[in-house]
């Protein structure tokens, strides 16, 4: 199984290289430092959300409310920062995390305790959180001019040549990948997604783990909202509308099985980077913006089809191996 997972990520990486190099052949400026930096920056918020979504999808659930949580957190952090210009940046990020924590806890509680399908629950909270967002915003928007310099400076700043947001995303991706691969509770998420009943019988605290992944997804979406404010400066209640589908697309392209039990955080982040890179590359190649969505959709379909065919081959190979046990042990 891990061989397949590794192959999946290599495949995304190879596709990414082909897209980048192919575009650079036509327009060499695509490989300029500034352009690469923009690529990473544009993909970072989606990649961040994709990491949280990965944990959720691994357990055979889905969190469709991430776009709304991001929007709510973006507006609340923006208006708080505008009203309190002396607030230090870490506190603003903490505020975002706190908002995400509350939203994630609501999702997690209803899904885990109510034993209700997450698709419906998070579809419901998608509306509820976005509605709250609009209710609080009352049609107003926070402009970059109202925000403290420190926050905008953080959003646009770099460290060692890499944008702060990219570094932060990288940190979260690495931490999540490490957790999912090496920690007992992280491995248990794969067990839950592979076979929920078996996981219960194996003594895994399924409800607590499912609650945990929704909490994590909410936290990350809340953080992403604060980062959205820092990055874009101008925030209204519509921030992040429709983002959930892009995030799910990134996760699926990144090789996380939508039926749970297989995939990785770095794969999902690569998926986000690939989708973002293709969008930029189409723009650089002069493809009209109208084509982007169609191509994204076709790519998503191609990714899940390839994934499915690989899984079928793997299953066939495993069956063959099972019939010839000596070859496997030998």
């Amino acid at each position: 199984m891990s061989a397949l997972a590794r192959f999946r990520e290599l495949g995304i990486l190879a596709t990414l290289l082909v897209v980048v190099l192919g575009t650079a052949l036509v327009n060499p400026r695509f490989l300029a430092g500034q352009s690469i930096q923009d690529l990473l920056l544009n993909a970072s918020i989606i990649a961040l959300l994709a990491v949280g979504q990965t944990a959720v999808v691994l357990t055979r659930n889905v969190d469709l409310s991430v776009g709304s949580v991001l929007g709510l957190s973006a507006f609340l952090t923006a208006s708080t920062a505008a009203a309190n210009p002396d607030l230090p940046v870490p506190l603003i990020l903490l505020l975002g995390l706190g908002i995400g924590l509350v939203c994630g806890a609501i999702n997690g509680a209803v899904v885990a305790l109510g034993r209700v399908p997450s698709l419906v629950v998070t579809l419901g909270t998608l509306y509820v959180f976005r509605g709250l967002d609009y209710l609080i915003a009352q049609g107003q928007q926070v402009n970059a001019g109202d925000l403290p310099e420190a926050l905008l400076g953080f959003g646009g700043g770099t460290l060692l040549g890499l944008p702060n947001l990219v570094l932060l995303t990288l940190l979260v991706v690495l931490a999540a990948a490490h957790y999912l691969r090496n920690h007992r509770s992280g491995r248990e998420l794969y067990a839950i997604g592979s076979h929920p009943e078996a996981a219960i019988l194996a003594g895994i605290p399924v409800r607590r783990r499912v609650f945990g992944v929704f909490l994590a997804s909410g936290l990350i979406a809340g953080l992403a909202g604060a980062l959205w404010t820092a990055r874009y400066g101008t925030v209204d209640a519509a921030a992040g509308t429709g983002l959930e589908l892009q995030v799910v697309a990134a996760v699926v392209v990144g090789g996380v099985a939508i039926f749970g039990g297989s995939g990785s955080a770095h794969g999902a982040a690569l998926g986000a980077l690939l989708l973002g890179t293709i969008a930029s590359s189409l723009a650089v190649l002069g493809v009209p913006a109208f084509w982007q969505q169609a191509i994204t959709g076709a790519l998503l379909l191609a990714a899940i089809t390839v994934d499915r065919l690989l899984a079928l081959r793997l299953a066939a190979a495993l069956r063959r191996a099972a019939r010839r046990p000596t070859e496997v042990t030998g």
């Binding site: 209700v116 629950v121 509820v128 959180f129 709250l132 209710l135 939508i258 379909l301 899940i304 089809t305």
Partner: protein
């Protein structure tokens, strides 16, 4: 089954409470007429989507098919096609969109959630490729009156008459045909249904194809109602339709649900929105109410299911 009946009874009760307590503004024929127009597309798409969900699948691409059919109407109209020729083409294209979903789900065995998120982007993207961000709006009033006028001699909007006809067709299909029994069997247990000799793939394929065709029909109604063919028509509507279907008591796991419940669900959502708007409740509250209703609707039947 008892829990489901209770749920539908509750929906009808809620509907009655809304209608009786809402005041005369709500009950005026003018307002009811607009309510009928307002829920037209959601009501239409909810019919085939009920079959898809009862069969244990989901289709999130329906609103994109609506947009694609609207864009197609615009492009063909600009090319001087007569509307009588455009409409069948649009419905066939919608059916093909649904058939592609069905093919990917049934033949390749891909999860419908992922497939239809992909085609959601694909079909909306194709709509943008066709028409860009322009609008085609020079339809003659003789056509657009279908989307805005009542059936002569009655207060019933044309789209509602269309809906009533289709509701009967889909009601028979789901509840009184061997096809419908196959749909329920598949939703309850696809493996068992296969062993019982039900052609699972064909049944699901047809459900997706119907969803595409009716979504295209809803695109025609939408385009005529607003006298405007645009690629972004109906964007985001997929969530509202899924909300209506689930509010109607259809289980997201498949195998349970009634078309009657879904129609009640569509009406409750529409009436609630209407009453809140009449009372100058901000639209944001409508969004919250929609979401809360959805949450309540999943919590309530499941509570009931644990009884036996």
């Amino acid at each position: 089954m008892k829990a489901l009946l209770r749920w539908e009874t509750a929906l009808v009760f809620v509907l009655l409470v809304i209608a009786l307590s809402a005041g005369s503004g709500f009950r005026s024929s003018q307002n009811l007429f607009y309510l009928g127009l307002d829920i037209g597309e959601i009501a239409l798409i909810a019919l085939p989507l009920t079959i898809v969900v009862v069969a244990g699948e989901i289709d999130l691409s329906v609103a994109s098919v609506l947009g694609l059919s609207s864009a197609l109407i615009g492009v063909l109209w600009q090319a001087n096609w007569p509307l009588e020729a455009i409409l069948p083409v649009v419905i066939v294209v919608g059916a093909l969109c649904g058939a592609l979903n069905g093919f990917l789900v049934t033949t390749l065995g891909l999860p419908s959630l992922a497939v239809t998120i992909g085609t959601l982007a694909l079909y909306r993207g194709l709509a943008l490729v066709l028409l860009g961000d322009t609008a085609v709006a020079d339809f003659p009033p003789s056509y657009t009156s279908f989307g805005t006028q009542p059936v002569p001699g009655t207060g019933i909007p044309w789209p509602m008459l269309l809906f009533a006809l289709l509701a009967v067709v889909f009601g028979v299909l789901l509840h009184a045909s061997s096809y419908g029994r196959a749909v329920f069997a598949i939703g309850a247990n696809a493996e068992a249904a296969r062993f019982a000799g039900i052609r699972v793939r064909q049944v699901k394929f047809l459900a997706f194809t119907l969803a595409g065709a009716v979504a295209a029909l809803a695109g025609i109604v939408y385009t005529l109602r607003f006298s405007s063919a645009r690629a972004d028509n109906g964007a985001g509507l997929e969530l509202a339709v899924v909300a209506a279907v689930l509010l109607g008591g259809v289980s997201i796991f498949g195998g349970r649900g009634t078309l009657f419940g879904v129609i009640a669900g569509v009406l409750v959502l529409g009436a609630l929105r209407n009453v809140l708007i009449l009372n100058d409740v901000p639209t944001e509250v409508l969004t919250i109410v929609t979401g809360l209703l959805l949450l309540v609707s999943v919590l309530a039947p499941i509570r009931g299911r644990q009884d036996p």
